[in-house]
Symmetry: C2
Subunit: 428 residues, 2 copies
């Protein structure tokens, strides 16, 4: 990419992105010297402002809500977009909870004294600058800023156009609170345009931005992966499986697949495929299928499944590769545990996979061989979540294997450095 | 990239690379079920063969050594290339030492029982397939293969053309030992061509290769960064600093800078720039400079330095950005600690930086504000090394902030997964 890219108003997005990134880098360096108490004071000040002065944010949100039908949002999407006093209060509570979490910065991960007397320790440090690209609800703006700054990072926020006015008002609140509590104001910046041309300029700045975190549809993630010149924390798909083993408690298995599919079908840790051991399929599938169908789930099965389940449509191979994010479930009868593992490794997305079994050897083999961010034994796939796994707030989930895997909370937004203290040691 | 790339002999490098990567992926999956004892048995069998049957490797190395002058290698490079019975024995010893290290796979990093009874633990797992590109000495072939397999990964090795015959013979020894000890033979593969066209095809396979580790000159690293579609662990430069603070013990400071510059000037953790606090420069610089010049070091200094050091050439700004890898040292007098930190953050490469000081507050500020993989207090920069910091063998060093920072040993070649065990828990 050479030269300058401008929009019709003449704004030079490259110059704009450079300025934002430089200010973020300067802020991230200042944050290295900021105490945990100062960061917590900011979080609590933001919570106080959200509770006591929500008017500006609510008014801005009203603009977004009114414009939403014109942007093609349906009623459910408009409901997710809408902020209310009670939702503002929930946002404030989330900030207080992040303030209460242990500061990850400065944690001594491990350390030892070497034979020559050098004291070596690995100490957790911030990553630097996080570029966070997200669609969806305005509460993510507040959560992401809070998690990034608590972990010592400066953040550049790029929200969706449907929440633009809400995001801008929330950003002003967050920034004013930074200034009020003596933190660098550029620790949180919002990209103050919805022009798509600007994103590429941020993705090129690998010397200033440590990591990009895209959260949204597959198209967004693919664009970021193609253009980003810095590391990316991401997940493409959540094609999650529940495998019901020969020895499974069938009532437990039924409860788990119904929960994994139906409790919130639109999220990445919902189940998309049910695998059933051939020997228990006749005892398990008819009743489980009836319960799923009763909950409104459309089933798409292999031939063996269809022989046991009236009204089950045939599954094509593409079904096993599809993240429905809807009340649709692929079903396949497998010969044994090995075939279940092979199916998951072939068609899955390394996100979350569960086995229901009473057999210790089967559980152990499944845990070792299934290469996913979370492997569940006798529990719903829906538990792969920062809150549920004990991380607290999360900024996203990763199906990558380097750096962070699974939910990304405060710790996953840090790096480490070696601190070595000596008394004049030199190498011989 | 579309279509097929062939060399003049008609070999289709894309098909070749696909086949190697698929076999590596299959081997990496098989390695998930292999015990630590089996991996150690392989390491010890390799050591045994290196000691007892070195003839084939030594004969192949002789071919490389004879061809080396034609490839433009100088006497020092040819000496590094040469294998001798005693160097073969050292290789075998290194393998025994890796066998003796704790297996990183399966380590429970942390874990807890959630209020709902779910048992959650984070468990260390292999990354999968490592693509390792290296120049230089054939012993790296053996070290890298050993570290990768010990950490449960399959490795694809791409060595330099000057060591091709040696690498091929070592690879055959490693592979035969895999077969003899019942491990998957494709756990270690060598790219059996020196054609440059093949590398791009490996760098495109992000679905099969978890990480690429390039080790060599900046040109190699830049090419890998431009083409790799998977994460890369790397460092570009080692522009390492020694800052002599106002309160430094001057004898200690002299010993540290002489060691950091001269003990092995051609490596990445050698010092390239000396920063000296203005107040102690008159007491420190003349004697330190004389000692460095006596050791053959060419000094390039700022005006204040040149006023104190006869024979010191002027330093241009580019000097402060240069990794000399040679007996040359940039010198700059700075006003205070803040200016030293600013210099390091502006001109450094985030590799290794040292302060010599008796002042606790200065040490603390330097540790917090200098954003490098290792920060030394009163010790030589040369200690940023896997062996010296207690990691054991290393496959490289990282100046990145995501995943691994500093020396990369067994642990840095692993990821983790969440293992969650329940008794039928579902989300409410």
């Amino acid at each position: 990419m050479s030269g300058l890219v401008s929009d019709s108003s003449g704004t030079d997005w490259k110059v704009y992105a450079d300025g934002v990134a430089i200010r973020a880098q300067q802020a991230s360096r200042a944050l290295l010297l900021v105490s945990g108490a100062q960061k917590n004071a900011w979080l609590k000040e933001c919570a106080r402002r959200l509770r006591q002065a929500p008017e500006a944010v609510l008014a801005a949100n009203q603009v977004d809500v009114e414009q939403a039908p014109g942007l093609g949002l349906n009623a459910a999407a408009i409901d997710r977009l809408r902020l209310t006093p009670s939702r503002m209060a929930s946002l404030a509570t989330a900030l207080d909870e992040i303030a209460a979490q242990t500061d990850p910065v400065g944690e001594v991960i491990d350390g030892e004294v070497r034979p020559n007397g050098l004291q070596v320790r690995r100490v957790r440090v911030p990553l630097g600058v996080v570029f966070f690209i997200y669609e969806s609800r305005p509460n993510v703006t507040v959560d992401a800023a809070a998690i990034c700054v608590k972990s010592g990072n400066a953040v550049i926020l790029r929200g969706g156009k449907e929440a633009f006015h809400s995001n801008l008002a929330l950003y002003h609140l967050l920034r004013d609170a930074l200034e009020a509590t003596g933190l660098p104001a550029a620790a949180v910046q919002l990209v103050e345009t919805t022009d798509r041309g600007v994103v590429g300029h941020f993705l090129a700045q690998s010397d200033k931005i440590a990591v990009t975190i895209p959260r949204g549809g597959k198209g967004l993630i693919e664009r970021v992966m193609a253009e980003a010149r810095m590391p990316v924390i991401k997940h493409y798909d959540g094609i999650c499986h529940v495998y019901v083993d020969r020895s499974a408690d069938l009532t437990m298995a039924r409860q788990i697949i119904v929960n994994a599919k139906c409790q919130r079908p639109g999220v990445c840790n919902a189940a998309e495929t049910l695998l059933v051991h051939r020997e228990i399929a006749p005892a398990f599938l008819p009743q489980a299928a009836a319960e799923l169908q009763g909950a409104g789930v459309e089933l798409r099965g292999c031939a063996a499944t269809r022989a046991l389940v009236p009204g089950c449509r045939p599954a094509a191979e593409d079904d096993y590769r599809t993240e429905y994010l809807d009340l649709i479930l692929s079903v396949r009868v497998v010969d044994d545990l090995a075939m279940a593992i092979e199916h998951i490794e072939t068609f899955g997305s390394h996100h979350t996979d569960a086995i229901v079994t009473a057999d210790l050897a089967a559980a152990r083999k499944f845990q070792l061989a299934v290469d996913s961010s979370a492997v569940m034994v006798n529990a719903s796939t829906r538990f792969n979540d920062g809150g549920e796994l004990g991380l607290g707030a999360e900024i996203g989930i990763s199906t990558d294997k380097l750096h962070a895997r699974g939910p990304c909370g405060l710790r996953e937004l840090t790096s480490y450095k070696y601190i070595v203290e000596g008394t004049g040691q030199v190498r011989g």
